[in-house]
């Protein structure tokens, strides 16, 4: 009986090994096939013929070492899907860093959300269903949700991003973001940044540091919105200039240190409370190593925007999907001839 069991196990092992070998051979053959059919142009481009099993992601993984860059191939070839045997040019470099065309230039909306509620909308609180509908709209209409690091790559004129790019941010650190917005974002696989003001964290309606850490580990970006959420632009009544200056320094340096310590991640972006700033604040941000900062001017961002005055589009509670759509401006018309 034992011998029978051993033999069965051996046969199973052999079948497993043979199957693995078969699959390995398939994979090697696919790669060999591409290698023989590709033409390299000056280290800038590769021309290939798509096979039945290719996708934009698989081609991007193979030729650009980054499966998330499938859009680069799609956009360069002006196609939305692949067909077997289709000839494709794969650009090996960002071919249009600023998103410039003869009719205008690319802009990136950065959406700013605050709080959420299950059912009842207010000016700064969005219902679960509305947020779901907005994210669904982004997914179904070909928008790419990018991270702030990707946005900065675009603003630095270093990296190309998809033509229909949009970034998502949340202000303050409300618990409703954790409870309502994050599960929806996870469902769609969208990245987002949460700007927290550290005095708020752990309070009644705010997220706890434990939840913040959990989000950070899950890949969400945690950045800073000062310590106390004071208006950085305005000097308070009876506040001397020196007091104002010291307050600014604390608002800017303290949360950076706290976030670095709690999350072991670099805090490099800041959202101005109320979106307000001035030269002194910007000079101080630069001194403390912040790479960019965000206002709430309701505009999209071209690559040449001042990185310390990046626009954000606040999405308010009573926006219907049509109004939301209008805020997603990804191209500014201007004759560039």
């Amino acid at each position: 009986m034992q011998q029978f069991v051993n033999r069965k196990k051996r046969i199973f092992d052999i079948i497993l090994i043979l199957s693995l070998l078969f699959l390995a051979a398939c994979a090697i053959t696919t790669r060999l096939y591409h290698k023989t059919s590709e033409i390299r142009i000056d280290d800038d481009f590769i021309i290939v013929k798509a096979t039945a099993i290719d996708t934009f992601s698989s081609l991007a993984a193979e030729y650009l070492n980054d499966p998330s860059k499938g859009w680069l191939i799609a956009e360069f070839n002006h196609i939305k899907s692949l067909t077997s045997g289709q000839e494709l040019c794969i650009p090996l470099f960002p071919f249009n860093k600023g998103g410039l065309k003869s009719g205008g230039f690319q802009t990136v909306p950065v959406l700013a959300y605050y709080g959420f509620s299950k059912n009842k909308a207010s000016k700064i609180s969005i219902t679960q269903d509305d947020f779901k509908a907005q994210m669904k709209y982004l997914k179904e209409n070909g928008y790419h949700v990018i991270t702030l690091d990707q946005l900065l790559g675009f603003l630095d004129y270093r990296e190309q991003i998809p033509e229909k790019s949009v970034a998502i941010t949340f202000d303050d650190g409300w618990i409703s973001v954790y409870d309502i917005a994050i599960p929806i974002l996870k469902k769609y696989g969208f990245p987002a940044t949460i700007f927290i003001y550290t005095d708020f964290i752990g309070g009644g309606k705010a997220m706890s540091w434990k939840q913040i850490k959990e989000l950070s580990k899950a890949g969400f970006d945690i950045q800073c919105q000062t310590k106390t959420h004071r208006n950085l632009k305005v000097i308070k009544k009876k506040e001397s200039f020196k007091e104002y200056f010291k307050s600014l320094e604390m608002e800017i340096s303290y949360p950076k240190k706290v976030i670095n310590k709690k999350l072991q991640k670099e805090c490099k972006y800041l959202a101005y409370p109320y979106g307000k700033t001035n030269n002194l604040v910007i000079a101080m941000l630069k001194k403390h190593g912040y790479r960019a900062a965000f206002t709430v001017n309701q505009k999209s961002n071209p690559f040449f925007i001042d990185k310390y005055k990046i626009n954000r589009t606040a999405i308010y509670g009573k926006y219907d999907i049509e109004k939301f759509r209008k805020e997603l401006s990804v191209f500014q018309r201007m004759e560039l001839k």
Partner: protein, 438 residues
């Protein structure tokens, strides 16, 4: 188990190759099918990659003015058809067009920048980048120079302390800590002469001035309307002392200079008018045009003076224009024409030496000067001949002394005149003989 090992190994090898062969056949089938469908022959070593379609695409993008994309498709076509001589030529030509267009738009952008027309400048720099995506200077303008600065550089002079600098820059010595903070220096140690400091530019509300800027601006605007330029200027200067970024005060200052310049121009005090216009910011609207208009008026004045043969005044007017605008060709031309005219007058007066002296001050390459110098020499020669013939006439009338005088005039104008020299010698010898006979 050992007996079965070779069988296992053979099976493994067999499966591996079956896998390879199966997939290969699958891919080759697809490729062949597509190649047949397109009826295009594949270049050697590749699968069905036609060159003509890329050339067509290149042409299509070139028509749309998307030159970088057109260039890319040309490169593909060139790689697929390495024997073509036309494609490399086309690539070189397109590269040259791209460079030319990028340069053209960049230059326009810089000019708009100088005129502070930043929106127009941005459009030109963006167009530059569309043609030449790595144009570093255009990127520099777009990313840095078109944005307002939070800092202003300050060069420390002599033994200035931070308090001195703070007083000078912020009108408030107590802001010295700010300078120390942003420049990482100790507040008690002076930074040292020549050190470049970065001073954050503060909003005016952080430097409360002892004047009400809003009221002062209204005052200045009213004074400007009443054409009281100097008083407008005084108030604008005072505002700028406390708020050096105040745009309205800067505009008022420029408007006052402009207005005073126009007044002086109306009074035909052109050099003074130009000086006044030049005090306004060069990019201030209308200043360049106003300076040009005054220069044109001065030129007309100079030309009128030339007609009246008032050469020294012509030189003064044209010299002034050249002081204001050293490359003004019309003023240069006016000076040279005046020299010519003066030279011609001196020719008429038979003052050839003076004529040549005058003409030597002019530009020898100027056509009129060249011709007039030549005329002087011709006139000299002609006059020398007249004196020679007069001498001959006197000689024939036996007026030897008069003949010698005429020939001496000939030699003065033409020192190498051989006949005159010879005749003088003969006449003098005859005179000597006659003296002896007497």
């Amino acid at each position: 188990m050992k007996r079965l090992l070779p069988i296992y190994l053979s099976l493994m090898v067999l499966f591996f190759f079956t896998g390879c062969a199966g997939m290969r056949k699958f891919f080759v089938d697809i490729t062949e099918k597509n190649a047949n469908k397109n009826n295009e022959k594949a270049p050697e070593g590749t699968q069905a990659l036609p060159c003509s379609s890329y050339l067509e695409k290149a042409l299509e993008y070139e028509k749309k003015d998307e030159l970088q994309t057109a260039l890319f498709y040309l490169k593909i076509a060139g790689t697929l058809n390495p024997n073509s001589t036309k494609i490399p030529e086309k690539i070189a030509s397109l590269n040259s067009t791209i460079k030319h267009k990028a340069r053209q738009h960049f230059t326009k952008g810089v000019k708009f920048c100088e005129k502070r027309r930043f929106k127009d400048a941005r459009r030109q720099f963006l167009t530059t980048l569309r043609y030449s995506p790595d144009h570093k200077e255009a990127i520099g303008y777009l990313k840095n120079r078109l944005h307002s600065k939070e800092y202003q550089n300050y060069k420390v002079e002599g033994k200035e302390t931070l308090k001195d600098i703070s007083k000078k820059f912020y009108k408030d010595p107590s802001k010295d800590f700010l300078i120390a903070y942003f420049n990482n220096i100790n507040i008690v140690n002076p930074p040292g002469s020549g050190t470049i400091l970065e001073l954050p530019v503060l909003q005016p509300k952080f430097n409360p001035p002892p004047i009400d800027i809003r009221i002062e601006l209204i005052k200045a605007e009213n004074l400007l309307k009443e054409k009281r330029g100097q008083e407008t200027l005084d108030i604008a200067e005072k505002i700028l002392e406390y708020d050096h970024l105040n745009k309205k005060a800067s505009d008022l200052k420029n408007s006052a200079y402009y207005q005073m310049g126009m007044e002086l121009s109306g009074q035909e005090k052109y050099p003074e008018a130009i000086k006044m216009f030049k005090k306004a910011a060069p990019e201030y609207q209308g200043v360049k045009e106003a300076i040009q208009q005054v220069i044109n008026k001065e030129l007309i004045k100079g030309k009128n003076l030339l007609k009246q043969r008032q050469y020294e005044q012509v030189f003064a007017v044209a010299g002034q224009i050249l002081d204001d605008d050293p490359s003004n060709k019309a003023a240069e031309d006016l000076i040279n024409t005046a020299f010519c005219q003066q030279g011609k007058d001196l020719i008429i007066q038979q003052n050839y030496t003076q004529a040549l002296n005058v003409l030597n001050r002019a530009n020898p390459q100027h056509d009129c000067v060249k011709k007039t110098i030549s005329d002087v020499y011709k006139a000299k020669k002609k006059q020398a001949e007249v004196h020679y013939l007069n001498g001959v006439k006197h000689f024939l009338n036996e007026e030897l002394q008069s003949a010698i005088q005429e020939w001496e005039k000939t030699l003065a104008l033409s020192p190498e005149h051989k006949k005159a020299k010879k005749n003088i010698n003969n006449a003098r010898s005859l005179l000597e003989k006659l003296e002896k006979v007497k």
